[in-house]
Symmetry: C2
Subunit: 351 residues, 2 copies
């Protein structure tokens, strides 16, 4: 980087205003008041020179001098781009950015994080992490070592999503309650044998959804639940035919992609959804899917999740805020959306 010709510093401001550099700093930081006893006239003179020169403090220097930056880091454990993860992250980021505007802070997105052992690394040799006052951590799975290092160092951070790690502050989604409610609806509709299609059980949110589904099934006696770990590509006519032959009348899908695939395959088999098979899903549909039916589903408030996470971090960073312990970990409710893919089974099983 070449030296910048036009760069203005506090020293220059001080010379122009005929004061010492320290006074410029005090004025700049609103500390030219009774305590420091800087006369109004001096303050005004300095302010005028600042306005004239368009001076802006060097944020790196401020930070180095130990002052908060109003910069919040945003780190994503899963690379946000190649994948369809965009539908996932976009609403989250929208919420984060909106809240950042509210808080008046800037967002440092750690897009540079190198991948090692298949995971992105937050703490690498050249990490710009310490430029931020604190950090938001996103991702289904997080590195326990890194969380520990951050905690040990006292670096303020908030996990977006519930974390099973002692002392980690988070804002999460109440998937247990949400999945239980939605599954309960399926049971209430008269289904006695459900299948749950889920992803690999990695990460708290996936475990929570599973627990919620189980709890929903337990809301009535004698409900059977088949669980299958399948990503959407593994959802075939054979699978669905098998499930139905076994007595399954309703499918609970963890992801929108799975639900979409179930619907496509079922429709391809000539089945009617929901008459022949009810399908509910624990997530919002992908944005593309105009062909897809209006699924009965859970609506996780992702935008709010983003906003609330940043708000929590803001409170943690605010020394004046005495945050009660229980507010360091909160869960947001998921709404159940009616949709059109849940109905009573055509041939109710006898319980």
């Amino acid at each position: 980087m070449a030296a910048r010709a036009g760069k203005v510093t506090q020293r220059q401001i001080a010379e122009l205003a005929g004061v010492s550099q320290a006074v410029v700093s005090l004025v700049l930081n609103g500390k030219a008041n009774d305590a420091t006893r800087i006369p109004d006239r001096t303050r005004e003179r300095v302010e005028q020179v600042i306005a004239e020169t368009g001076y802006t403090a060097n944020a790196a220097a401020r930070r180095l001098a130990g002052v908060g930056n109003k910069i919040v880091g945003v780190f994503t454990y899963e690379p946000a781009f190649p994948t369809g993860a965009q539908d996932f992250y976009t609403p989250l980021l929208a919420g984060i950015e909106a809240e950042a505007e509210q808080l008046g802070c800037d967002l440092l997105m750690f897009t540079s994080a190198p991948v090692r052992d298949g995971r992105r690394r937050l703490l690498h040799g050249n990490s710009r992490l310490r430029l931020a006052d604190g950090c938001l951590l996103l991702g289904v799975r997080m590195d326990g070592d890194e969380l520990g290092a951050l905690q040990a160092e006292g670096f303020p951070f908030v996990a977006v999503g519930r974390r099973d790690v002692e002392g980690v502050p988070y804002v999460g989604l109440d998937y247990v309650a949400g999945a239980a409610t939605l599954t309960g609806r399926v049971v209430e509709a008269g289904h006695a044998h459900l299948a749950y299609l889920h992803l690999e059980q990695a990460g708290e949110s996936i475990v929570d959804r599973m627990r919620g589904v189980e709890r929903g099934c337990a809301s009535a006696p004698g409900i059977r639940l088949d669980t299958r770990e399948v990503d959407e590509h593994a959802i075939t006519a054979d699978l669905l035919t098998g499930l139905r032959a076994g007595g399954v009348t309703a499918v609970v899908a963890e992801t929108a992609a799975q639900a979409a695939r179930v619907w496509e395959v079922a429709t391809g088999l000539g089945w009617d959804v929901p008459r022949d098979l009810s399908v509910v899903v624990l997530a919002d549909p992908p944005r593309a899917g105009s062909r897809l039916p209006d699924f009965t589903r859970l609506r996780p408030p992702r935008t709010r999740l983003g906003a609330e996470s940043l708000r929590l971090l803001g409170r943690i960073l605010d020394p004046a805020d005495e945050l009660p312990d229980r507010e360091r970990r909160t869960l947001l409710d998921c709404e159940v959306v009616g949709g059109r893919t849940l109905a009573a089974p055509a041939h109710p099983a006898q319980r």
Copy 2:
């Protein structure tokens, strides 16, 4: 910000490794080579301590010491959130983030910029701008004074979108050519009287689209063009009826919102699009609109625009890259998408 207990510095690394702090810095920056004649054994020892302690350089200090940060600022003149601007910015940001991953740089989003006189300000008292090595500027209209100040200061930046300001590097979209081609298609289809619905003429991209439409009309003799400055709310049955009564058989809309509104109003009037009225648009449809027809339209490559803009900034920042002047300002082609809202007029006007 409380002092961080666990914070490791180069001095501590130096003590542990039994070398001076300067040597740690040299090792860290890959300058422990023949030129500095630091023995391999010393380097290895330092490297090991670094690995053990999980040391990470303080980016603020590095920056202050004059070293590049691999941080690129992203500033948006229009607030990105309250509005429907999200559809606009999302693909752009997707491209920027993808390229940032490629380049290994982080992105500092200036979400804090205060609004003054209805515009967001990049250069305000507390701007974190100088933390970045360079900056990407987004927005339909930009502040000329700020562009000037940035140039005067030699702060590297790239405008996303064509700019009519001397010396400002940009990557833009070739709206002139794109709009001319699409409008030419309308003319080729037999329309002799078109209406162009556009926004207030502020900003180069809006001017360019207008010029392109005019050029497209000039591709055949005797074509009439009515232009109307209307945002979508001002598109009423009266307006369309008036246009059609005047002989207009095709509408070119600047924005997707306008096109959607034209289609809704026309349909409400019992008209068939495109039989009774052809509608083409110079932008991509909003993501929500599953009800809307498949518009004949221009597809501005926004994701690529984002990526190419950052790539250009990366080249400007790279001292080894001798960027030819003409590559400092480039335009990307817009694709024409066939769609189903352009047809020959039912009653071709006689020319």
